[in-house]
Symmetry: D2
Subunit: 326 residues, 4 copies
């Protein structure tokens, strides 16, 4: 079927490529003409603006917006809404905050437009492996887009089937789920990313303990000089902690066992933060997910005012003078 894509970055561009591989017809726009040209060269219909993009589609239209969450997405959705017609659908495939989805869906509904939010996981691997998608929106709008989702999803592949799923929604085993009304897709994706932070931090802490077991700060008799690259690799094979994140870790460690190519500075995105906000709204204890987020905050500073407060107190009660950082 026909789909327009706005935003041809790493994610948007590859989604278009995967759709075209499955025979879909894509109209593409990006504020960078070079990005449009590149995909046009691969078979897409390039356009120079939103008006042209809407004009190039036959109703009922479907436009996928793949832009950074926040102002860029908001502006594109609202401009599109003004150009499109009742029965058309706007898909937000980015990482929007789910309450923005709820608000936008209500605004679009008044004009007879559909709004579908799609949380998309798979990163740079999605083009070949397929994308895992978590979808929110009206049942009919989601159903009409099914060929798109089916093409983007990984499909059942050779992943073992979970017993006991007979009679359940078959789309789920293909790798996409209609999670609920507008906002539900991004809500589920948000929690997905919150969990991702927690999983990553669990591995990170464990590998740091392994890495430092050889440190000369320990008594020599209790020191082990462990090969963390081999340990990551062996855990991929039959252990309880095997996972795709571990596969990536094993690859990184095989290439650079000391990870000297990294500074230790770790960014975070909105979804990790919103997950904690959601936990607080729902009064759910989220000690692990929040600790994972805070570790990233801390990683980006050389020292903190909090730590200076500690030293100031220690000097105050005990006369302790801290040494400088080593």
């Amino acid at each position: 079927m026909q789909l327009a894509m706005i935003g041809l970055g790493r994610m948007g561009g590859n989604i278009v490529r995967r759709l075209m591989r499955h025979g879909h017809d894509c109209v593409v726009y990006d504020r960078s003409p070079a990005a449009v040209e590149a995909l046009a060269g691969e078979g897409a219909t390039g356009v120079a603006g939103l008006e042209a993009l809407v004009a190039a589609l036959s109703p009922p239209r479907a436009v996928w917006v793949m832009l950074p969450a926040g102002d860029a997405t908001e502006e594109a959705v609202m401009r599109l809404a003004a150009l499109m017609q009742p029965g058309d659908t706007i898909i937000d495939g980015g990482n929007s905050f789910y309450k923005d989805d709820i608000r936008r869906a209500a605004a679009l509904r008044e004009r007879g437009l559909h709004y579908v939010d799609v949380g998309t996981s798979g990163g740079v691997w999605g083009l070949d492996r397929g994308y895992c998608m978590m979808i929110g929106g009206d049942r009919d709008a989601v159903a009409r887009l099914d060929p798109i989702f089916a093409a983007l999803a990984p499909g059942i592949g050779d992943i073992p089937r979970t017993p006991g799923r007979a009679g359940r929604d078959p789309r789920v085993e293909q790798g996409y789920v209609h999670a609920g009304p507008s906002g539900a897709g991004h809500f589920v994706k948000m929690i997905h990313n919150g969990i991702e932070y927690g999983l990553m931090q669990a591995y990170a802490e464990g590998f740091e303990i392994l890495h430092r077991k050889g440190s000369d700060e320990l008594p020599e008799a209790e020191r082990f000089d462990l090969d963390v690259a081999d340990i990551a690799e062996v855990w991929r094979r039959g252990s309880v902690v095997s996972s795709w994140l571990l596969d990536l870790t094993a690859s990184a460690l095989a290439a650079d066992p000391g990870l000297d190519g990294f500074s230790g500075y770790v960014q975070d995105s909105g979804e990790g933060r919103w997950t904690i906000d959601a936990a607080i709204e729902q009064a759910v204890p989220a000690n692990v997910l929040s600790a994972a987020l805070f570790a990233r905050f801390r990683s980006r500073q050389d020292d903190t005012f909090a730590e200076k407060i500690l030293s100031a107190m220690r000097k105050g009660f005990g006369g302790h003078q801290e040494p400088g950082k080593t």
Copy 2:
């Protein structure tokens, strides 16, 4: 080759079975005669005591102890050490504390005996999938036991190869690693389990937020009635959080979406605790791994003295009277 097994519980029994499937010759002992008899019926040589077990083996002997960590293992190892001869090897395949391994290995070395500690992951699935093994001990003793480890390990199977491993120890891709001297095997297994706790808690917190998103404590407009079984399933397919633990979660939720068969009481074992002790010894921040452990501690109590202290303070400064638990 020939191996004796002491302890024929879920783990020990299946290890013997897997070894026999690969053509190895097993002598077995358990304090339960029925357990011995069962494996004897499957082809093992059953014996009635440690003396008989040692007598049934040709030197250099290899005896695998698969008993609960602590007193049971300690007693078996020490009794065996008194019965065995220079050049023989005792393997502790249980979940011993690694400092006990270091101590025992030193004691056995004085008698000319080898001590090999093997951390074994794979649980009830190991019989068919194979066991991931983390091994500590002298190079020669570990090398001599290689046919045993090769039989127990999962093998390379259809798990994609990690790039960049050319020239590295080939045993690792088979699913076992010689991590270092005595104690190193159980140290790595200990951290493995510490990570496991963290991974599990990350999923658990995320699923609780999803589960409670439909709660009527939230404003109706922000409530979603999410199908957590479907969400667990879809994440298995192309998402960043896919893992074996997620596979198990998806199975459990497909069978019982509300998990009504569980009370919420969660046990912990020594390894999760020792991981935090190790982090503290090494001055490694382990916020996620410790939070995962503490969540289990809390799960086993109805209420805590700590919480009563909080209520007492709140009454003291604000006159707040807490309601009862709902």
Copy 3:
């Protein structure tokens, strides 16, 4: 000077009483006529509604709103704003979210009204000890209300002076601070409460360890039967952990050493939650403050879905069947 109070609960009523003790002239309103009558009997001017309240004041008027944060405060402030005249001031002494203050102050400024937000600490003890106040608003409006704040504040009393404060704002040593523009008062009070949660939880965890050191789950040789009431008392005297919260704890434990009068259910208020939101907005690691909040969330549940997820995984990989909760 003249001040009107709306909301005569525990806080509002006592603030009026303390003001009258210092010779100020109070007009009071509450939706409960009995509350109005009670304070009228103590010398205040009772009125039956907001119109009457505004009419009873001479310009420039000052009205203190002491209602639950959220809808009740919002409605009272907005209704008052419609009744009052340029140059008048509305004081929000409750626990409002500071972004609401910023918004309201802007709305009132358009009508020539002043808005002053006052975070008030002191609880049931404030009537006699005085209230610690954190104030946000325009310099002039705050200055005009100085007699009110001076009367409510504890004053310098016999608390030792901090060295090095010569030349600094003298109001601070009296127990009130003009923290900044509208919203700053409640922001500082919010963080105050966030810290309060952390302090309380630190004591709570410590006392639980002391309390359970006598438990028969420990080896008898390492068990101590500690008197936590005496320990709380002794720490009040010369130790590094002495504090007002510890004083309250010592009182509660002297009266009821097992705290049997408490269920373990602990409530939380908006400020503890908003503190974490603020930390996240500012990318500040807040592991202790968030853990303190989450402990309260956990205290209010018998068991959690998260814990059931853990048990389900444990059964999945190890065949572990959890026992029921004791």
Copy 4:
């Protein structure tokens, strides 16, 4: 009465001074002759070694050891034990691990010697304010030393009495407690320090949020330029978070509002670590106390292997390249 002191550092020296102020007779030894000479000049009897020290005392002797926990204390106690006679008492006033106390007390008991462990809080302020003491040991040995403890303790002073303590041990209100048998004193002191870490971290996190509320990383409309020195001061007066640690913080901030004299590097001592070990042994959730400890661990590193693992994973799944640390 007569008491000998071994170790004349900041703590030991001031304890001797306070005892002499109260008319007690002190024999002193330190491996630094200058330290001995200094106190001899203030009225103590200086000696040149342990033999001379024991010889200078009349039985039943009492010797207070005030040395770093670990080897130094162990050696001094064991050498003293060999020199002393049945009925004599050794006091360990340092920060020993309580299980070492239990072991030492048992060893000394076999020789007819008493062992008393005293956890001492008060830091550099103790000379004038008095020391809060937590004492473990036999009832008789502790009773015989009562004049020493009474002299060192702060006494009841002007700290308000806790209601409901009639009939309770009167020593507690003087500032010392006989907590239980050998080891109990240091156990209680250990938890005291664990709580201290938690309290300090709660303030530290709160002040960091306040400090960074003026940062230009926030939208200008939500920024406040807060004076943290004034805020610390105002909270000392009537607020729920007032404490001695806050007094110290207010002093430090009055002298150096940006705390520019501190590097952010924060040390920790054994007691904070042992508190977590104890919590784990007793299965007590200690999220706040452990987070406080881990914050210190993190403060001492520029970056961590854990953080590099996170970046490596992020690059693996999303192609994210982290920027360098700012």
